[in-house]
């Protein structure tokens, strides 16, 4: 139950970005007129696995919840409790479930953002946020001697083909290399994968933030002051309780790329053609301009007979390289070597039993499970640079999220098809040069279904994008809503284009830190007086 119904700040969605922004505002922000500390509430529709981090060990509440038996968490009844759809819905959001790998914005991201909507999210302006992200998430690379032979071969072949392979950045602390680190795996049993549950949220607790789990916000309340629309509070629902009201001087929305436009639609803010007579404030950009990384992009798997993974690895990724079409990074392919983990623990034995490398049935199947399946690796290769593939060819209606949650991405677009084919051929060549015994195409559809969001995209962004011009954006570069005073949006939905390296959360976190700093400087510091 919300103890007090009046706050200085309510953060709706205590996910990756929301929890960072709420924490920083409570820690560093003050009431600009009185200098007093702020009353901050952080609200999330899902559960909260609370407790200070014990890096490399875990604490009872999290060890108990996340028993790191993949199928245990994935059984319909249990999974429904913690993991809804494809992202973790709960305090910490996607940071609880992410693969904990990926890079903060690339130089190309800053350029594309500015080109797209004119935001001043430049490399120079974001320098401090990047530094804070790398520090808070203990970002590092894995030394060569701990990387598996497979990755080193991938690197060497990439180099021999004229590419510039780089090491994947990982975000963990005291990883015991149990071999079960994987995406989709909620939290790490040993508190080694950095999430905001372990980094920012303990600081929020120390700074008196009221954290309200299992509380779904139904609407942002939009009123009018003179001629100006103003956000004044929220309607929310705690588990099994009636809808209640809370008021705040500032409302910060961070419900992610789909959750945020859905909440705004429910609040009467968005495109007229979608909201009809429920419309209060019009902005056709809410829910549009959605960009991301297409989920199935020329996936290829390889089987090596001379690379056998005997030891659980650290569960992270080795090397990546880029294949660009021009100096701007257009139609970029991001080629990733794969996951460093013991295959038996990555997805669970049953997924191997059903893999398309496995014989159909009978003794052959059993023998394969006993012996051969240990030597093939799933290669998570071939993701790509969303912005160039998608946006300019992507007709507006297809890029829109509708209030009924339906969304369509044009996977058949000629540019995507062409790059898919090139991506597949490139991966195929890499694996052959690496000495693969067998190379096969991944079946696209199942890959898309398992990995992607409903839109068929990963790392999706843009549904409430930031920009200088209200005609093509929802918030300004300071994260303030163009149309409604005291309303801010700070999550993945604000990015004008998808990231150009393999990252969603890493960029979300950096932008979140940057957003908090800007909001504090402009609204919650004494110097404002």
């Amino acid at each position: 139950m919300l103890r007090e119904k009046m706050y200085d700040v309510i953060v709706v969605g205590a996910g990756f970005s929301g929890s960072i922004v709420g924490t920083k505002i409570a820690q560093k922000g003050v009431n600009p007129s009185s200098g007093e500390r702020l009353k901050v509430a952080m609200i999330d529709g899902g559960p909260y696995f609370k407790g200070k981090p014990k890096w490399g060990y875990g604490i009872p509440s999290r060890r108990q919840m996340f028993t790191h038996i993949p199928q245990d968490m994935r059984q319909g009844d249990r999974a429904g409790r913690v993991v809804e759809g494809y992202t973790f819905k709960g305090v910490g959001g996607g940071s609880v479930q992410w693969g904990a790998k990926g890079h903060p914005p690339d130089d190309k991201d800053y350029e594309w953002w500015a080109r797209e909507t004119g935001v001043d999210w430049t490399k120079e302006n974001m320098k401090e946020a990047v530094r804070e992200f790398l520090h808070m998430f203990n970002s590092h690379t894995i030394p060569d001697n701990l990387l598996h032979e497979y990755h080193l071969r991938f690197r060497d072949v990439a180099r021999s083909m004229g590419y510039k392979p780089e090491k994947m950045l990982v975000h963990k602390k005291n990883c015991i290399m149990c071999g079960t680190h994987a995406e989709f795996q909620p939290q790490c049993r040993y508190d080694a994968k950095t999430s905001t549950l372990l980094t920012y949220i303990p600081i929020a607790e120390e700074n008196g933030v009221e954290i309200l789990p299992n509380t779904k916000v139904e609407q942002v309340i939009i009123g009018k002051k003179g001629t100006q629309w103003v956000a004044t509070g929220i309607w929310y629902r705690e588990k099994g309780e009636l809808v209640q009201k809370a008021e705040a001087k500032k409302i910060i929305v961070a419900c992610e790329n789909f959750g945020t436009p859905l909440l705004l639609y429910a609040s009467g803010y968005g495109p007229k053609d979608l909201l009809g007579d429920k419309l209060i404030v019009e902005n056709p950009n809410v829910g549009s301009h959605i960009d991301g990384h297409p989920a199935s992009m020329g996936g290829v798997s390889a089987r090596f007979e001379d690379i056998v993974v005997h030891e659980p690895g650290d569960g992270n990724y080795g090397f990546w390289f880029l294949d660009d079409k021009d100096s701007q990074g257009s139609d970029r392919l991001f080629m990733l070597s794969g996951a460093e983990t013991h295959p038996s623990s990555f997805w669970g034995a049953h997924t191997y039993a059903l893999s398309y490398w496995a014989p159909e049935f009978g003794h052959k199947h059993k023998d394969w499970m006993r012996n051969n399946w240990k030597v093939w690796r799933h290669i998570s290769g071939g993701s790509f640079y969303g912005p160039m593939v998608a946006y300019s060819h992507w007709s507006a209606p297809k890029a829109r999220l509708l209030p009924d949650r339906s969304f369509q991405f044009d996977h058949e677009h000629p540019t995507i098809k062409k790059r898919q084919k090139e991506c597949r051929d490139l991966l195929w060549a890499v694996f052959e040069k690496m000495g693969a015994k067998e190379v096969r195409d991944d079946p696209a559809e199942p890959v898309r279904r398992t990995i992607a969001s409903p839109a068929g995209l990963r790392h999706d962004v843009g549904s409430c994008r930031a920009g200088e011009d209200p005609k093509n954006s929802v918030i300004n570069a300071n994260f303030e809503c163009h149309d409604i005073a005291n309303l801010f949006i700070v999550d993945s939905s604000t990015h004008p284009r998808a990231t150009s390296l393999w990252s969603g959360g890493a960029v979300v976190a950096t932008v979140g830190i940057f957003a908090a700093d800007r909001i504090i400087a402009k609204h919650f510091s004494r110097s404002q007086m």
Binding site: Q64, K173, S344
Partner: protein, 144 residues
Amino acid sequence: MLKGLTILLSDAELREFNEASRPYFGDKPFLQLSETEREQYLNLIIDGSQVKDPKLLRTLQKVYRLTRTRVFTVYYSNYPEHIVPRDENDVPILPPGDQHQITNPNTKRIVTGWDIANYKPQLSWEEEEERRARAKRLGMWHDE
């Protein structure tokens, strides 16, 4: 084991699958086939060229695919040793005072899918400690 399949497969489809082997195996239904004949029947369904009625072929392949998926999923999810006992709040039931909460449901009573696949679902506390010591030795322990 087949619980959960019934939503996807009707009794009529299962009956059709059982009966459709008759023309190829001396009028014997699937359930009366020897192991070798069953293999032949399944291969015949996968191959598909001998089944001339496309509707029947679709049914046979559907029954085969769904059953295969179900059987392998259940078996390689460690059936029948797959369950962690939990309380009404869905929290694993542990021996009193157990902080480490090792809830590995695998036992050595019988050989399960996990044993065949050499799948290690969860480390014991001692294995965890070994791994922590190893991470320290390797310079991968960043913080106490």
